[in-house]
């Protein structure tokens, strides 16, 4: 029971219990940061003795009975895909905690407890190898996120919080039906067992319905166009740490679910319906980019850019070749880093000026140059500038898409252009030009302080590291993807 996987998953939960025990805000802040850093360090040990075993390619597994009467077991495992998503989670969490420690004044203890609860749920989703266990963690992420948006959000937070929860619940309702139907057919909830048995036993009708049910649940989460409407609301209203969690990690649950469950369970249906999914993904890429161009609020621009970027990831997953799929996995990590950092930047700005409207800024380069330099780097990493992390993933996806249908690659590359356009526009509106508003003058506005830099620098270092040495990740991703691909 006390193995590495369980430890990584439940360390944040232990932290929650510890946080309940102490009363002092100071201790809670330090404690939450310490717990999240400790989780990161412990999760790094997953890399030690990395030796994926056939079949399935899992380097570590742990399993014990939870509710044997319904066939539910507590079953975790890590392979070359989930590894990076777990590391992304444990990497981003201390940053979110540090941001909240610095800026959240109201009920910070509760806020941190919710963040740590969310961390356990997210790691659980990425590691779960039992379908019901996956569902349990997947649904449980709603509770902390609901409170984070609803309690620390902006004016319209109630609406955004409820919309977020209701969309997800309605989306996953059908998935639950499919989960139990899969059990009725195969007699197991083990994800690997189902992957092995189900494609051979299920007819095309069952597969199609099952695929649609799973994809609907994940399409809401990703979000795939046209199920994205909750996202801008949730992002704009959420507190910064909530936005980071949402963009970096929660959206990845959807893409990961498609990769781990929807396609392997129902390959025939996936092959049948992939054109429609790809079309929706392409629509999302173009739509997200065009709408992002129109935004007057920095945060909603980043939110819509997420819609476009997630479209790329879905496109990569569904082209079914090594380049496309490993590009998509890589891009999940890249998007987590870049967009997380963008929300962090927006958060820094908002805490200084209490506005996010472009119209209230301009000429920031003259007053806060360090901030602007970091903003530019991160915007470029998000836009896919070569040498930074976004480029490798996007390029790989485009290559994969081109191999299947040059048309896909053509439409998707429109998205690349749009991304550079709206991100540079954002930078221009914020940083360039003359200082119009007195509040933006150098003597009023302070540049990034050391605490803020300590949150940003690790992300930027990772952006460069992954841009220059993508093989750090790809070495483990590609073998896992190649195990995954046959039969598609």
């Amino acid at each position: 029971m006390f193995d590495l996987l369980t430890l990584v998953t439940f360390l944040p939960l232990l932290g929650v219990l510890a946080l309940f025990a102490v009363r002092s805000e100071m201790f809670r802040k330090v404690g939450a940061l310490a717990v999240s850093l400790m989780t990161f360090v412990v999760s790094l040990f997953l890399l030690v003795n990395w030796n994926p075993m056939e079949p399935g390619g899992f380097a570590r597994e742990v399993q014990f009975n939870w509710f044997p009467e319904i066939g539910l077991s507590f079953h975790l495992g890590v392979d070359g895909i989930s590894l990076w998503l777990v590391l992304l989670t444990t990497f981003m969490m201390p940053i979110a905690v540090a941001f909240s420690n610095l800026y959240v004044k109201d009920r910070i203890g509760q806020h941190l407890i919710l963040l740590l609860l969310l961390e356990t749920a997210l790691i659980g989703v990425f590691l779960a190898l039992d379908l019901v266990l996956f569902f349990v963690f997947f649904e449980f992420t709603l509770i902390p996120m609901y409170f984070l948006i609803g309690q620390w959000g902006s004016e319209n937070r109630e609406y955004a919080a409820i919309k977020f929860v209701m969309y997800t619940l309605l989306g996953s309702a059908f998935m639950l039906v499919a989960v139990v139907s899969v059990y009725a057919l195969t007699g197991t909830f083990s994800i690997m067992e189902i992957t092995r048995v189900l494609p051979a036993t299920a007819g095309i009708g069952f597969q199609t319905l099952g695929f649609l049910a799973f994809v609907l649940a994940f399409a809401v989460k990703i979000p795939l166009f046209p199920f994205h409407t909750w996202l801008p609301d949730a992002h704009v209203q959420a507190p910064t740490a909530g936005s980071i969690m949402l963009a970096s990690l929660l959206l990845k649950m959807g893409a990961y679910g498609i990769f781990r469950l929807a396609i392997p369970f129902f390959p025939a249906a996936a092959a049948e319906l992939l054109v429609y999914v790809i079309l929706l993904a392409l629509a999302g890429i173009v739509y997200g980019g065009l709408v992002a161009l129109q935004q007057k609020d920095v945060k909603s621009l980043v939110a819509y850019s997420s819609v476009a970027h997630m479209g790329f990831i879905v496109l990569g997953l569904f082209v079914f070749n090594t380049q496309g799929v490993s590009g998509a996995i890589l891009q999940m990590i890249n998007h987590g880093l870049s967009t997380g950092a963008l929300f962090l930047m927006v958060g820094f700005l908002y805490e200084r000026r209490h506005t996010r409207r472009f119209a209230d800024f301009g000429g920031l380069w003259k007053s806060i140059p360090v901030y602007c330099a970091f903003f530019l780097i991160i915007a470029m990493s998000s836009a896919g500038l070569p040498g930074l992390n976004g480029f490798v993933g996007e390029f790989s996806i485009l290559m994969g898409a081109y191999a299947v249908n040059p048309g896909y690659a053509l439409v998707a590359s429109v998205g690349v252009v749009l991304a550079a356009w709206y991100l540079l526009t954002a930078y221009r509106k914020l940083a360039q030009g003359e200082i119009v508003h007195q509040e933006n003058r150098a003597d009023v506005l302070s540049d990034l302080n050391s605490q803020e830099l300590s949150m940003l620098v690790p992300v930027v270092v990772m952006c460069f590291a992954l841009g220059l040495f993508p093989n750090l990740l790809l070495d483990k991703i590609v073998p896992a993807v190649e195990l995954w691909l046959p039969g598609r």
Partner: protein, 475 residues
């Protein structure tokens, strides 16, 4: 044939305890204050319930016993229903010691009636012929009618009692007429011999079964026989509401399982389409109406209709898994639903018996523990994993899908998702809004908080260790 006293000891203890409570009340009342009297009686009743629970376990260890020729039977179903009723009664007793004297001077009668009611509910699950079933049904209905009207100064309470009386009378009439027709068609009232006698389908039997089902429908608040539920739930003293919302369902479902699924499996299998319609109608009506409620007790009333719908849906396949699922669900429902009512009791004013949702505004800050537990119970009611309510729903769900009722399953998950909306609105009020007025925590006593914590801990413990509790209930 000797009588196996062991097997009916739990009921004997409860009914004996009721008499004891009445006697103790008679001799103590003169000397003691109302509140003190209530505390003593509630502890005495709790002790009775505890003894009965222990005896339930020893009786269950003896296996299946048939008593009084064929009119009573003690088996695992009986044990499970007894357990759920006893747990509910214990929670309601625990939270009532201060609350009861705030609405009535007849504390002795309250505890006596509560115990009689619990005993009769347990008897429902033991009844193995139609006569016994009817006797138990009447006993617990009459006790509930009296309990619902105990808040005499409040006209709503009297109205609740009157309404429940009239509707119960209707239900009983349907039930007894149905029983008479079934007897006419089969020549027996023993459930064990119904099946063999009912082999030949006859119109008389069909009408009889239909009438029995209507009787059950009234009591279980299955749509379209649910109209009385919100009014009675809102008007009755809140402890009584908490007790009847779980207790009635438990007793009626126990009897439903024994009468239809175990004794008349073919009839049950032939009526699945009607049952499905009733189940979907019940949960949908319950949930959609609950959406627009502002009174918490009314909302929980409609939510309880919805949960009756889930339970009925879960039983439609009529398999062993379905029965196990329903029993497990009832067990979890006892904690989460009574739990939600405990919070309402904690903030109720002495004169009113009703709380508007808006009164909870800002509770998250002003009474963090109360709000935290309320949120826990509501999340569990809406079926968010890994709380107890999720596994309850999951088991029902599995039975439905294994039975091949895909559309029923879809209707149920969609309903469950809709229900989250009104549960979440309470949480919105508690956490996302700030209230001007301080939260009036008037009824907080040790017993109440103990009940709240016990229910909350159980909601978590059942969620984390569901296997143990399922085995305990179904073995």
């Amino acid at each position: 044939m000797t009588l196996a006293y062991n097997a009916i000891l739990p009921e004997i203890v409860i009914f004996g305890g009721a008499v004891l409570v009445l006697l103790v009340d008679l001799f103590r009342r003169v000397a003691q204050s109302e509140a003190r009297n209530s505390t003593v009686l509630s502890y005495l009743s709790l002790a009775v319930v505890a003894v009965s629970a222990i005896l339930t376990f020893t009786a269950a260890a003896d296996g299946r016993t048939v008593m009084f020729q064929t009119s009573a039977v003690a088996d695992t179903l009986t044990a499970a229903i007894r357990l759920v009723v006893l747990v509910t009664t214990a929670l309601v007793l625990l939270i009532g010691s201060r609350y009861v004297p705030s609405f009535t001077h007849q504390t002795g009668e309250y505890y006596t009636l509560l115990l009689i009611c619990a005993g009769a509910m347990m008897t429902m699950a033991m009844a193995a012929d139609l006569m016994m079933l009817f006797l138990a049904l009447e006993t617990f209905s009459l006790s509930l009618i009296l309990l619902a009207g105990m808040f005499r100064e409040n006209p709503h309470s009297t109205e609740a009692s009157m309404k429940y009386f009239l509707l119960s009378a209707f239900a009983s009439a349907f039930f007894v007429y149905g029983a008479a027709l079934v007897y006419g068609a089969t020549g027996t009232i023993a459930l064990a011999s119904l099946a063999s006698s009912a082999a030949l389908p006859s119109p008389l039997l069909f009408v009889g079964v239909a009438l029995l089902l209507v009787g059950f429908g009234f009591k279980l608040s299955v749509a379209p026989f649910h109209m009385w539920t919100p009014d009675v739930y809102q008007g009755a003293p809140t402890t009584v509401t908490a007790f009847m919302s779980v207790g009635t369902k438990t007793a009626m479902l126990g009897a439903l399982i024994r009468l239809f699924i175990l004794a008349l499996p073919e009839t049950w299998a032939n009526s699945t389409s009607i049952l499905m319609i009733l189940a979907v109608l019940t949960m949908t009506v319950g949930n959609l109406t609950a959406l627009s409620q502002t009174s918490l007790k009314r909302m929980l009333g409609y939510s309880s209709i919805a949960h009756a719908g889930y339970l009925l849906a879960g039983l439609v396949p009529g398999t062993e898994n379905a029965i196990d699922g329903a029993l497990f669900y009832l067990f979890t429902y006892a904690f989460m639903n009574v739990g939600a009512f405990i919070i309402i009791i904690a903030i109720e004013q002495p004169i009113e018996t009703d709380i508007e949702r808006s009164q909870l505004r800002g509770a998250g800050q002003k009474a963090p523990w109360l709000a935290g537990f309320m949120a826990l119970f509501l999340f569990s009611l809406s079926g968010i994993p890994p709380l107890a309510g999720f596994f309850g729903k999951f088991l029902l769900f599995r039975a439905i899908i294994e039975g091949g009722f895909l559309w029923l399953a879809i209707a149920m998950v969609l309903n469950s998702a809709i229900s989250a909306y009104y549960y979440l609105r309470v949480i919105v009020a508690m956490y996302f809004r700030s209230g001007a007025k301080p939260l009036p925590v008037t009824q907080g006593t040790r017993g109440l908080y103990l009940g709240m914590v016990a229910a909350g801990v159980m909601v978590l413990v059942i969620g984390f260790f569901p296997s143990f509790w399922l085995q305990l209930l179904t073995r």
